[in-house]
Amino acid sequence: MEAVRSVNQATDHLSDAQIEAQVTGLSPDPAAQERLDAHLADCATCLERLLAAERTHLRLLEGDGMKRDPYPGCPTEETLQELAAGICAPETAESATEHAAHCSHCGPLLGQYLKEFTDEPQAEDAPILRQLKTSEFQWQKKYARRHLTVEKAKSPRWFGGFWPKLVAAAAGFAVAVGLTLFLRRPDDLHRAQELVASAYGERRTIEMRLTAVPYAPYAPLPMERTADANSGLAYQRPSLLKAGAAVGDRIQASSNLDPHWLQVKGRVALLGAGPGSAQEAQRDLEKAQSEGVTDASLKIDLAASYFEAASNDDHPDFLAAINLLRSAVDDPKTSREDRLVALFDLAVVYQKSKMFDLAVKTWEQYLQLDPSGKWADEARKRLDSAQKALPSREGHTISNLQASFFF
């Protein structure tokens, strides 16, 4: 940290002069260069700034627009489209990308498709997209009713008359029930995961949204509770009790929980929302992470546990939660639904941290991607409250916050 600080005492970031010196080849002495490289290894912002400066410096290399017609050996435009959309066959993707990098027709065309297919909301289109007829819930409902019905295949008339049909139906039903019972024996882990999701829907005791859970309004438990109130609250949340029991059964069967069960255990603790629950959840979820679960869902759970623990602190530090959520949002492997959850939570953390400008931007980004539904309604309310907080909080803009807070 000391080495990094010496890069730029005021902001912890490289100054414009330092970036310029790097670009023009006026390198500092080896020790300073080493500190600078250490900073670049950690700081995405400075690395991005330096690369952008290098690109400006090397603008001589820039292609001269797009060659309109393809060369004889170019891949089809369809291949470039699929490449940009992330659905190109893996065996073709790498060779098509390498071709595009060396081709004055395909390179710019690929760049154009990537920009048109980006998932990032574009500010210039936002106002018009919000006013579309096709984005209104009522229109969608009407369109689905009128145009989107699936033609079901008509069954052949094997039997005529009422009684044979009834007998056949009863026999079919009995076979189906038998097969269902036989084939769909409940998977314990899956069932426990469903119970936790139901528990979230019973009472959302945490502000953060988790993956694959139904919407529920935020309803924190009272801060001070008597023993009676505690037991009363437990009986109002039967799914949470059942999920806890499922974890208990698992621990009885095997003292070493596998990482997915640890995640369930962590979620149960998190939703329990008692004293020390967040810390308990944190321990389980960190263990699950160290044992190989690295998907967005775990990052979000872990961020929620950090957030809950920090929220109860006198001097809350939400940095760990922010970093985890940002990594879930930026990870290209994160599914769209999980990315939405991470974005929602990131906005919650920014708001809680009184970084209202970032909260507003993040809520707006969220609502671009998820404009309707109950989560969107909540997001809109929170956005409204963040916007109202902005004028009186001018001191809390990105520029004068400790930059190291974000990275």
Binding site: L40, E98, T118
Partner: protein, 199 residues
């Protein structure tokens, strides 16, 4: 049923199997913003987008995926969880391009468009030849320096996509199984190498 909690794949399967109205409403709620955004951005190639054109073309794209008892959707091959979104992007883009092929912009606008397209950064032909020669020399030099590395073709491609064709590190990371950070580190290493030993 909590439709919003379903993955894309589960939702699409529900739509195709049961055809329940609620499933399709969720389908539209979830995918309309993506389709409309691609439609709007693609329209910009020809003209600034307006609401009614975007709405019309979104509906055309929906008709296209639902035609023939959802033939396109039923034939779709799931490569990964987000691949259906990629499919919708391609369909939406093609619908817009088909529209402008069928109803081209006026001649004047088209000429302006052409001029703009080719004029971006255009330089005298002789200068262009010199630059192309310089780029070829740089590529050969980097290729020689990187030759021993396992993925040198990939590194070189990333360098050119970023510095020559203006892709961002994030866009490049979508083309390879790499994180943005990995792409940026490669770009920094190569530009330093190029400046120290090739330029």
């Amino acid at each position: 049923m909590n439709w919003q909690a379903l993955s894309d794949r589960e939702l699409v399967e529900f739509c195709l199997q049961d055809g329940q109205q609620e499933a399709w409403v969720e389908f539209l709620r979830r995918f309309q913003p993506l389709m409309a955004a691609v439609v709007a951005r693609t329209i910009r190639r020809w003209t600034p987008p307006n609401r009614s054109l975007i709405d019309d073309l979104v509906q055309s794209a929906l008709r296209k995926i639902c035609d023939g008892n959802y033939r396109a959707m039923r034939g779709f091959r799931w490569q990964h969880e987000n691949s259906f979104r990629g499919f919708l992007k391609v369909v939406s883009s093609n619908v817009v391009q088909d529209h402008f092929r069928k109803y081209p912009q006026s001649r004047v606008e088209e000429e302006l468009e052409e001029a703009g397209h080719e004029a971006v950064g255009s330089k005298p032909a002789t200068h262009r030849v010199e630059i192309d020669a310089l780029v070829d020399k740089l590529i050969s030099c980097l290729r020689r320096l990187l030759n021993a590395e396992e993925n040198f073709n990939r590194s070189l491609a990333m360098f050119l996509l970023y510095y020559r064709y203006g892709l961002t590190a994030k866009e490049i990371s979508q083309l390879y199984p790499l994180t943005i950070k990995e792409v940026e580190n490669t770009l920094l290493r190569l530009v330093r190498m190029a400046k120290a030993r090739c330029i």
